[in-house]
Amino acid sequence: MQSQVAERWVRRFRDGDECTTKLICFPHAGSVAGQYRTWSRGLPSDIGVMAVRYPGREERFDDPFPSGLEALADDIADALDELAQRERVVLFGHCFGATVAHEVALRLHDRGHPPAALCVSGTLPPQALNGCRVVPTEDEDIIAHVVSLDASRAAAFEEPSLREAVLPAVRGDYGLVGSYAGGPRPPLDCPIYAYAGADDTEVTPAELQGWADMTHSAFRLRVLPGGHFYLKPEEATLLADLSDVLDLVRSGTTTV
């Protein structure tokens, strides 16, 4: 059983005694744990699949936002601490979620129970940020940016009642992205697997190569067809590749 803190922070899609490796997924800005709901079907049955529940949305609508992305990573590392001590965990994050997952991996590493692997998708490594990024701060600009990356999300902002329910999370996450300065970080001991959409307008596959400097261990970049949100149309391919990664992790092989 997980503690109440872990329950608040993690939505579990599949878990059990047979799941000796847990994949913990980190949603992109403004998104929710349920984004990863379908992943358990595409991954081996002995892989536990769960996702982080950020504050400010769904059941956590009234939970306050942390002061910064690092503070969010502190909170998540606290929530995952017990699990990471006991089990083999692999972190996967997309965009904002990848940055958060990396910061959480650094914290778990410092606590002596690092993840078995870190998977990062669609975001720059921290040392490439070189100061805070310019992100939209006005609601309409934020919405325009969100919709430019994923047109299917426009509907969420057109219905006033839905907008009131989802905008605080989007606004809050963009605030965290905008105040995160990144910079040099000590390399992790676990392998890093990076994923890119070939036509991503936010970050190029070449830029994702920079994640290689964030580990002493193995690094591999995989480029899939599509833009920033290649994950959904390429879900089967991505999960097949992640299954291979999880196989390597389970067998204790970290070479690529």
């Binding site: 509907a155 219905e159 009642s161 839905l162 329910a165």
Partner: protein
């Protein structure tokens, strides 16, 4: 608030609770496409998301006649809590009509 009003609220709770739970359960079933047996399960654990939530609210409003806000449903994410929310709103409606 007088004792009389309080007892009317209690009436909604005692007599209407199972009816309201049934109403909410039916709306969940119509929205999610399957029956959720656990009154205390979160709508989002049950497979819902924000879009589905709007559909759920539409169904609850249609069958209860009570208008509820998305943010209030976020704050009451289980069937039990949504039934209690409806009971409370029905009580308020009655108070206003007196």
């Amino acid at each position: 608030m007088t004792d009389v009003t309080s007892s009317q609220h209690a009436d909604v709770g005692v007599q209407g609770h199972s009816r309201l739970i049934a109403l909410v359960r039916s709306a969940w079933r119509d929205t999610l496409g399957y029956d959720t047996p656990d009154d205390d399960m979160s709508f989002f654990d049950a497979g819902g998301d924000s879009f589905v939530l709007i559909s759920l609210i539409g169904k609850i409003t249609k069958s209860s006649g009570i208008t509820i806000k998305a943010v209030d449903v976020l704050r009451a994410p289980t069937m039990r809590k949504q039934a209690a929310l409806l009971g409370q709103l029905m009580g308020e409606d009655r108070d206003e009509s007196q």
